[in-house]
């Protein structure tokens, strides 16, 4: 294959050419309620050629049939000719890496039978369904995939990587009359089958929480001090701030450049934020991004000041900065774009007890159902939440949706905890058409003043 790929690249008439091929096999077992919805295996083989013709632009060809790579290269070249970017597109220099990244799984899931995977999912599903008669529905999924990934470009890079992924997802739906509540828990990482064993605690937690939510009152809307747990704080920094740090949002846009100017104060001195695709054993980690750039730690906010952003080779060249290893694609059907990897608020010094003790009336918001941003405006729903009364966690409340303006909200973070945690859920990040991309979130507990909570 290597020879075939390199010959095809050599045949290109473009200024820059890259080929990415994937051979991926996946297994999914899903229970919904007491029914096994699916126990299936799929095979996905395909590739992408991307060409850059200076004075024109990018051309892309994607395909499932890998037989004739040369004709795909020609097709991508013709696409590049159609484009007419006014300024010539440049790409920043990176070293041409030649590497084979092998992987070691303690327990390779490809050697495990469908029967065993089904039995595992069934066991967890039964934990949910037998928890309480008010749990009327469940969703329990086991997924694994093994991706043989090849990247090569006309600068001499040739990277081959084995990419395993295993995921477990568990959702409980509780019902009492017309009152329907749900809660979910999940885990995922780039490891073997061992990662998803002994997770009975997750469906139990989901079931108990769904039951608790049946008795929770809807939160009263208004402005509150809010303490976010690690998962919600991690999702918040990813969604509300991280996406603005993606240089493709900024590089063609003078106004956004002004807004995201390095050196601008974004938070108090205690706030430090980074993205790091090189941390071992995290979901968003790879040795190289999908342009062959080595990943690394990139600080975005240091001591409250904006100090960096995330780049592809194109955005780095345009802004005169270094590529950061953040060009990623969800699969071979897409060209890489600037994406996050593992994004986190760095650990602070405040204990949870100190954080909560002065809050007379506030909200302790945990986990995230979903988040959405329209640039500086964001909205997140927490998975579950409690009122804080006189410095203590009080009754559970539901439908807690945090909304606000990013700039004021970041400035309003006035305490950062000393209990940092990485969160690797089975969900993923979406941008444009590309969803879900594996990422992880990290944070300690944080406290934010004056958050607008929607509600009754």
């Amino acid at each position: 294959m290597q020879e075939k790929i390199q010959e095809a690249i050599k045949s290109s008439r473009a200024d820059y050419t890259e080929i990415r091929l994937e051979q991926k096999e996946s297994t999914t077992v899903t229970y919904r309620g007491k029914n096994l919805e699916t126990a299936q295996a799929t095979i996905d083989v395909g590739g992408i050629v991307r060409c850059l013709v200076k004075g024109h632009g990018w051309g892309v060809a994607t395909f499932n049939n890998l037989d004739d790579l040369k004709s795909r290269v020609e097709l991508a070249y013709q696409c590049a000719q159609v484009a007419h970017s006014k300024e010539p597109i440049e790409i920043a220099t990176i070293p041409a890496m030649r590497e084979h990244v092998a992987v070691e799984m303690q327990h390779d899931f490809r050697d495990i039978s469908m029967a065993t995977k089904k039995a595992l999912a069934e066991r967890y599903n039964n934990v949910l369904l037998k928890y309480n008669r008010k749990i009327v529905d469940s969703q329990t999924s086991y997924r694994d995939s093994y991706n043989h990934f090849i990247f090569a470009n006309s600068e001499g890079a040739y990277i081959e990587e084995e990419r395993p992924m295993v995921a477990f997802f568990s959702a409980a739906i509780a019902r009492e009359g017309d009152n329907v509540q749900q809660s979910h828990e999940s885990r995922s990482n780039q490891t073997g089958f061992e990662y998803v064993q002994d997770l009975d605690e997750l469906p139990r937690t989901a079931a108990q929480r769904a039951l608790d939510l049946l008795n929770a009152e809807t939160v009263k809307g208004g402005q509150y001090p809010v303490i976010c747990n690690q998962e919600l704080a991690g999702v918040f920094i990813h969604e509300a701030f991280g996406h603005l740090s993606e240089a493709d949002f900024i590089y063609e846009n003078p106004k956004a450049r002004e807004m995201m100017v390095l050196g601008r104060r974004f938070g108090q001195d205690i706030l430090n934020v980074f993205d790091d695709g090189s941390i071992p054993n995290q979901r968003g980690t790879h040795r190289f991004d999908d342009e062959g750039t080595p990943t690394r730690r990139n600080y975005l906010i240091k001591n409250g000041i904006l100090v960096g952003r995330l780049h592809s080779r194109e955005t780095a060249a345009k802004m005169g900065e270094q590529p950061t290893g953040n060009a990623r694609a969800i699969n071979y059907r897409f060209a890489p774009i600037v994406r996050m990897t593992n994004t986190a608020i760095e650990e602070g010094t405040t204990s949870f007890e100190e954080m909560i003790k002065d809050v007379k009336l506030g909200i302790y918001a945990c986990d995230a159902y979903g988040g959405n941003t329209m640039l500086e405006n964001f909205s997140f729903s927490s998975g579950y939440a409690y009122m804080i009364r006189d410095g203590k966690i009080a009754e559970m409340v539901k439908d807690v949706i945090l909304a606000g303006n990013l700039f004021t909200t970041l400035m309003n973070i006035d305490a950062i905890g000393n209990d940092f945690k990485w969160i690797n859920t089975a969900g993923g990040c979406g941008k444009g058409d590309q969803f879900p991309l594996p990422v992880s979130f990290g944070s300690p507990h944080i406290r934010i003043q004056n958050v607008v909570i929607g509600g009754k």
């Binding site: 996905d44 739906i173 329907v180 002004e258 807004m259 949706i401 509600g455």
Partner: protein, 432 residues
Amino acid sequence: MDILKQLQTQAEQVEVVKIQSESTTVEYEANLLKSSKVEQTQGVAVRVVRKGRLGFAASSDEHALDRLVANALESAAYGDKIPLEFPAPVPPPAVKTYDPKIAEFPIPRLVEIGQEILDILLPIEPEARINIALNRGVNQFSLRNQAGAEIAFQRSPLSISIELSSVKEDDILILYDMLGTTIWEENYIGFVHRLADKLKLSKKLTRVHSGHMPVLFSPSGGLVLGLPLMVGLDGKNVFTGISPLIGKLGSELFDSKLTLVDDGTLDGKFGSAPYDDEGVAHRRNALIEKGVLKGFYYDLKTALQSGTESTGNAARGLFNPPSPSVTNLVVEPGQTPLAEIIGGIENGVLVEDVLGLGQGNILSGAFSNPLGLAFKIEKGEIVGRVKNASIAGNVYDLLKDVAAISRETQWVFNNLSMPYMLLSDMNVVAKE
């Protein structure tokens, strides 16, 4: 090899679906034509029922058909015990989904249309950053099963989507709109003018104060109300008992002005095709008629589980088995002209778009969203754009009383036809 014949010797029921598509996309990014893309996709998906158990497998690798067959049989060995029967052939309804004009649409013409769009929008907001994706393609779908169905049809989707953003100080304005059709639309530029009108209205910023007030949902904003209904009417959620609409067929749950129809037989619309993805003929399904709950939407499996018939609403991607999905969703127009509705509002809000659509507990009908794009209506006139406010409520309560539904409707999000809907009393929370 003929997978159907091969599997028929080993399974009671067999379905083989092949998809093949090619498409071309031209992309303007920040007003510049920076890239174009060709995509060729192919794949085979197989379902079998063997010894009463359902199995599924799929592959995009045409050299791996042996493994595809083996995977399908293995899947059936552990699969759901369900007496699913794939349907015998029926004649298709008349519906147009293919236009050679789109199939043969030249790339330079896509490029030109992109430029026309920029020429309309940029003079209104010269500093706007406009992303446009123009896509044309041809999709071929074929399905064969052991009952003798041999279905093949093609669609020629053309879609144009626009995202316009404009940043001023810390105010960021984003507008979206899209056109989707499978037969050539002479007025392909109409939706751009609709976006241009919103852009003009957006220039002036104003504020609302918290309180109860009438809220008018535009066709695109109406999705806030429509999305929980789509989830609640899904046959799968009804069967599993989590839809709040369970057991309420025939009840008058909504305002009598409200009629909601799913119709996959409308010429040229994005959700249209002669058959659904299991070979069941598309048809018109009334879901809500004059406020009365008339039906749910099902695929074969959820219909069988619920003791009813498929409504022709199966949809699938290559790598997933079918599940119920809407085709084209139509809220029937009302009696009142839009101008009259707006003219009658003393102090209210027009909602075009919210943040975080679909998050939270939408199964229950509850929503709570900050406004994305919204306008203030004062003394019967739209006076400016508002932000920093949010709306909340429950659609099952709110839609019991709809103050007015407009005569005018628009196609939005490619497969929804919506009028303007006025709710007379909603809680708007503003950050003062």
